[in-house]
Subunit: 411 residues, 2 copies
Amino acid sequence: MAAPLPVSPLARPMPALAPVAGVRFGAAAAGIRYTGRTDLVMAEFAPGTTVAGVFTRSKCPGAPVDWCRAALPQGVARALVVNAGNANVFTGRAGFEATQANAADAARLVGCAASQVFLASTGVIGEILPHQKITDALPGLYATLSDNGWADAARGIMTTDTFPKGAVRETTIGGTPVRIQGIAKGSGMVAPDMATMLCFVATDAALPAPVLQALLSAGTNKSFNRTTVDSDTSTSDMVLLFATGLAGNPPIAAETDPALADFAEALDSLLLELALLVVRDGEGATKLMRIQVTGATSDESAHRVALAVANSPLVKTAIAGEDANWGRVVMAVGKSGEPANRDTLSIAMGGVWIARNGTVVTGYDETPVVAHMKGQEIDIDIDLGLGNGASTAWSCDLTHGYIDINGSYRS
Amino acid sequence: MAAPLPVSPLARPMPALAPVAGVRFGAAAAGIRYTGRTDLVMAEFAPGTTVAGVFTRSKCPGAPVDWCRAALPQGVARALVVNAGNANVFTGRAGFEATQANAADAARLVGCAASQVFLASTGVIGEILPHQKITDALPGLYATLSDNGWADAARGIMTTDTFPKGAVRETTIGGTPVRIQGIAKGSGMVAPDMATMLCFVATDAALPAPVLQALLSAGTNKSFNRTTVDSDTSTSDMVLLFATGLAGNPPIAAETDPALADFAEALDSLLLELALLVVRDGEGATKLMRIQVTGATSDESAHRVALAVANSPLVKTAIAGEDANWGRVVMAVGKSGEPANRDTLSIAMGGVWIARNGTVVTGYDETPVVAHMKGQEIDIDIDLGLGNGASTAWSCDLTHGYIDINGSYRS
């Protein structure tokens, strides 16, 4: 294996991950691909835990994605098993059998139906998952599950990640304090929809599965589906949200219940924090880009324009070079295919409007923009001047580091 | 300015570019941006020359693209003026005025209507084109136009190109020999539709403008629209095809005339040769990738799958690393959004089928594939196993060279 990657300069320290009532996590070294590190993560959830999920839109999803999609309609989860190092993708019948075997393993330990076990795998594509290693490791791992296993879990699911990722929110539902806590992994093959990553969030809130699903879908649309590292969508992406119900909040029947407003806001902001942590760990990233589009004919159109800019290799290399090359932003807007009018288009970087209504601003002084480009967080504003549609996307720069990481043999 | 780039390892020598009856080319140094090299190209066409054009689909096209689009419906061309170093894009009213002035300059010299002058600009976006420099240089340049100016023209339109690009075909229409000859430039911001580049082709065939347009549109769809370097579409792309009529072939009324079959085939192959020369000069390219998709539900679907693979940074970096990482091909097929079924998907590299029907081929021996990956021309075959749709796309690898070229200040 290659030497460990240096930690991203955009890394953020892990927050303290406290227990979430009804959730026990742990990690073990099963030797699936890596040596000298944990690569197998398990969680057990209290009886009655509801679950929601959002999955990759890839037409070639991995076997664990198929498994979770099939299990989700029941809306009940008792366990989660995740391995790193092998994605169990494009593995045919063997891949399906691996999911069956490992779900059955976890179900036996927890004492639940196999369909209440959720599975995720991340790593190399096309190699048969050595599921017996997981079978062998699970009993020992199960014995170590703990309220305090969150940080270990965040580390155990990493692949090319250079730092573990977690986020916490404390909020209330109908006056009852509830906690939302999540971990994520991902750093390449990251694009909507979904950003190539795994994200597991749990809360002690009591929420029916359909409500949970509505909240999660809305939250991922505002977070993971607005971030991109390299436009490449993984076969294995998923976000799972588990609600143990042990907080004892008043019953909630619908996602439109006003008592949910704070919770929804906290969940949205937690998901965005985790999504941005993934971008911050984008392979080779040295700068975080925020692209804000206004004046589009619709929000959806603004979203597509923002992503065209966020994914443009020429914009991303310019940012890497600390070059306020707004001409490449014009190019990327133009290629998006969305309604745009050159003569109403305005572009700002670092809050300074460089071009207004189709031409460079008279007396444009590059000095403050040049200073902004030297920072770690780069803001690009694009006003299409056509309507009221708005959206924001996040990306990172494209550097030699990306080539180093992905151009070496079977990274 | 940065030091000159090393010539692409994929470069091809320029063929001998002989005269095309009715076409006189030349190049001059107008000092628009570069020093010590030609940056202004002019051509004069014999009276009666017909013209066809295909332009960028960018929503933010440059002023010269607007100019040519407006002139094209007349179908008549007497002159072409091209500058390198400044794209005259996002230059507002000043950009329009520059096109007016330079078209009038050329019209005066040639003795034609300004609307019979075609214009193209390539280079930096957002800077006002110093059109007076072109006005000043054109009379001297016009005096030097020559039947043998093609190679000079191919050099004069280069920007980040590392080698000049030309191609020739000799064919017949109704027994009359005709010549087709073209030059092209482009190496980055290259993607459909159109590949970011300029391409000028002339023939001495006598063909009405509508017939010429039909042939050109069909030919670019099979060539430039199937090539990509970095998925970024320029604001300035164009392919122009001029037909002077001096070959004296029998009259042709429609593109469906069987007498045109050889000409159409020759034109298609010339356009593909020029398009591939652009990919061979892709910024930082060290390998040319050919992605052939079969078994799709339609040709159009196959085209989109091929482009998803051709544009995937993870596939492109794997090729750069000489890694037969077919898992990334699976990923790219999956993200294309086109109909695909994991369990009928097959992938070959270098003609060796690695995965068949959703899983790795039993006893797959990587040895011949590893040898293929070390070559300069990489073949990837993808059979979706669903229908009869097929398409081919070409791309290049993604290397440190791309970052070097595009991550430096205002390259």
